[in-house]
Amino acid sequence: MVTARRTGAPRGQWVQRASCIRLRPEGLVFAELFSRFYQFADVFSFLILASAGLAIVFGMMGVINMAHGEFIMCGAYVTVGLVNLGVPLPLAQIMAAIMAGVIGVVVEVLIVRRFYRRPLDSLLATWGLSLIVTQGTLLIVGSSIRGIGTPEGSFAVGYYTFSTYRMILFACALAVLSGIYILFMRTRFGVIARATMQNAGMAQALGARTGRIYAVSFGIGAGLAGLCGALYAPTMTLIPTMGATFIVESFVTVVIGGANVLLGTAPAAVFLGLVRMTLNAGYGQIIGQIGMLFAVILIIRILPEGFSSILVRRGR
């Protein structure tokens, strides 16, 4: 998130328009409220997009993918590479997400598959992979490549103007959430995947190919990570270590989201988004991030199983 602030459109802050239109008080209040909402939406979409892939992989397989940041980096690099070749941005972003997903399936088959019974070792293996990829990219591609600018476009509410692209990111975050919901709750794959999540042995006995389900889920997780990188690529400086800017947020969202990913991630992102937005507005980015971490540490003390535990209890 650090680098995200350095370049690109103003984010979390707003540009005062030169041509002030006199507004009635209620219009002012609305503008103020919208500006708050905009800041919240900005943090919320960052948290959701950064953590969705990690959350699915963790929820399905109990594996924390330490190379998550590198899939994000991969998505960003592919997007920028394709745009520099002349591919339109949205198409490049979709292709980057698919590319990351395919690489994810390959990684699952070659490495992650061996570690489902040893989740701690899977952490180490994917961390080793992350080191190799980050430093390998530094060796091969170099420390930075030519970036692409944030798509133009802004809209005004009251005195403030807002970047349209940030709103598109918010829409994408909502789309990702609903996409996950539909995929896991409304499709045949989702039923089998949830069965595998609950009891892999039983699902296998009933004829589900759990190995394939795992591979596909890991691919979806990696693809979502790639999508995150693709979506944020225009707003960031691209460096091989950029994954690190995303993983703190994605880790803490998954940690306080809890074991049930379908229920936990969104409330966790709403909570962290609110904390972050309030602190950012009052005290700046640094306090925002550190305050978020403190909030997380407090939450795990109070709710060790995360937000999904409350919802699951309610549901019973």
């Binding site: 080793g128 080191l131 190799i132 993983i247 703190v248 880790f251 803490v252 940690v255 971490l293 795990i300």
Partner: protein
């Protein structure tokens, strides 16, 4: 008390092992006579990190808590040493600064550990919460470039790093060069033997019991959480010792020694060596540090790729660690021989590697 250095929680309890140990120690002691001072300085640099590795071995290998936050405590102590040495004004006070900064790191570990352990955070979450804290600290310190970020006369200086603190000093004598080397050897000896006694004591047995099965240990009447907190604080204090020594060694510390990829390094050393044994960790970490430093001269990225590859290879091929695995292999081979009198020590093979380097 001293007999606790041998026990079931450590490998290398035979007379042969201790003879080899003494031989290595003797070699280490006479090394500065033969080597030039630059090499001795480099050697002390590797030795700085050994404490962090031993601490992680205690937390992770013995206590079963996968902490990714060793560099968090390394950084806290490193920066504390810098700040304290500047505020308290150098001289013999640097020794006090060293002690205080290690205590600060252990205290930070106790606070963070309280929230995690009493919150029943375990397994993979323990790792990622500690890593999140580590990365946040690196991020925070990276933002402190401005002049408003200072404690007393000590400026944090953001990514440019903090400097201007005195190295460890007694009276008028800076502890540097060969003297620092001997101080390092002495500290490692104390820490290594101390940890061996700790893990072979009754406390150590509880620590291992809670790694094997926390519930069973609890049923036996031990408050597992207190032992976990103790293990975490001691191990992190050792990371802090590394941090304070590091700042003193170079009179310099930057946030990059906290964040990625630095945070992965202790994990690689300890995983590769064999986390569940202190001796294996000691030998393996030293070898890896030596190798890493040699390759870094040519290309840091290549060295880090190699480290990542080693981590991946370790968990795929020999999850218990290469040095530990080799030691076990050798020991089982020699135990099968009919004449137990000539039993060779399992660790000697690894030790001879160390001697060669």
């Amino acid at each position: 008390m001293l007999s606790l250095v041998n026990g079931s929680q450590t490998i290398g309890n035979s007379r042969g092992f201790w003879l080899a140990f003494l031989a290595v120690l003797a070699l280490a002691l006479i090394y500065p006579i033969f080597a030039d001072s630059y090499d001795v300085g480099n050697f002390s640099y590797f030795l700085i990190w050994i404490f962090m590795a031993l601490g992680l071995s205690l937390i992770w290998g013995y206590g079963g808590m996968l902490s990714f936050g060793q560099t968090f405590f390394f950084g806290i102590a490193g920066y504390s040493y810098g700040v304290l040495a500047i505020i308290m004004g150098g001289g013999s006070m640097t020794i006090l600064a060293l002690v205080l900064s290690v205590l600060i790191a252990a205290l930070a570990a106790a606070v963070l550990g309280y929230f995690m352990i009493w919150g029943r955070i375990g397994g993979v979450f323990f790792g990622i919460v500690t890593l999140a804290a580590t990365l946040s600290l690196a991020f925070f310190l990276g933002q402190t470039a401005g002049p408003e970020w200072h404690i007393g006369g000590a400026r944090l200086n953001g990514f440019n790093g903090m400097k201007g603190m005195d190295p460890l000093t007694v009276g008028d004598i800076y502890i540097e060069g060969t003297l620092l080397y001997y101080v390092m050897i002495a500290l490692i000896l104390i820490v290594y033997l101390g940890l061996r006694m700790l893990v072979n004591s009754s406390i150590g047995n509880v620590i291992v019991a809670m790694r094997e099965d926390p519930q069973r240990a609890e049923m036996l009447g031990y408050d597992v959480r207190k032992y976990q907190l103790l293990t975490f604080a001691v191990g992190s204090g050792l990371a802090g010792l590394s941090g304070a020594l590091y700042t003193s060694w170079g009179q310099f510390i930057t946030p990059s020694s906290i964040g990625l990829p630095a945070a992965a390094m202790p994990i690689v050393w300890v995983a590769f060596s064999g986390r569940s044994d202190l001796t294996a960790t000691l030998i393996g970490s030293f070898l890896l540090l030596f190798g890493f430093q040699t390759i870094t001269i040519y290309s840091q990225q290549a060295a880090l790729v190699l480290m990542g590859g080693l981590l991946l290879a370790t968990v795929m091929v020999m999850p218990q660690g290469f040095i530990f695995g080799i030691a076990q292999l050798v020991s089982s081979r020699w135990k099968r021989r009919p004449r137990p009198k000539k039993k060779r020590d399992p660790d000697r093979d690894a030790h001879s590697q160390m001697r060669r380097s």
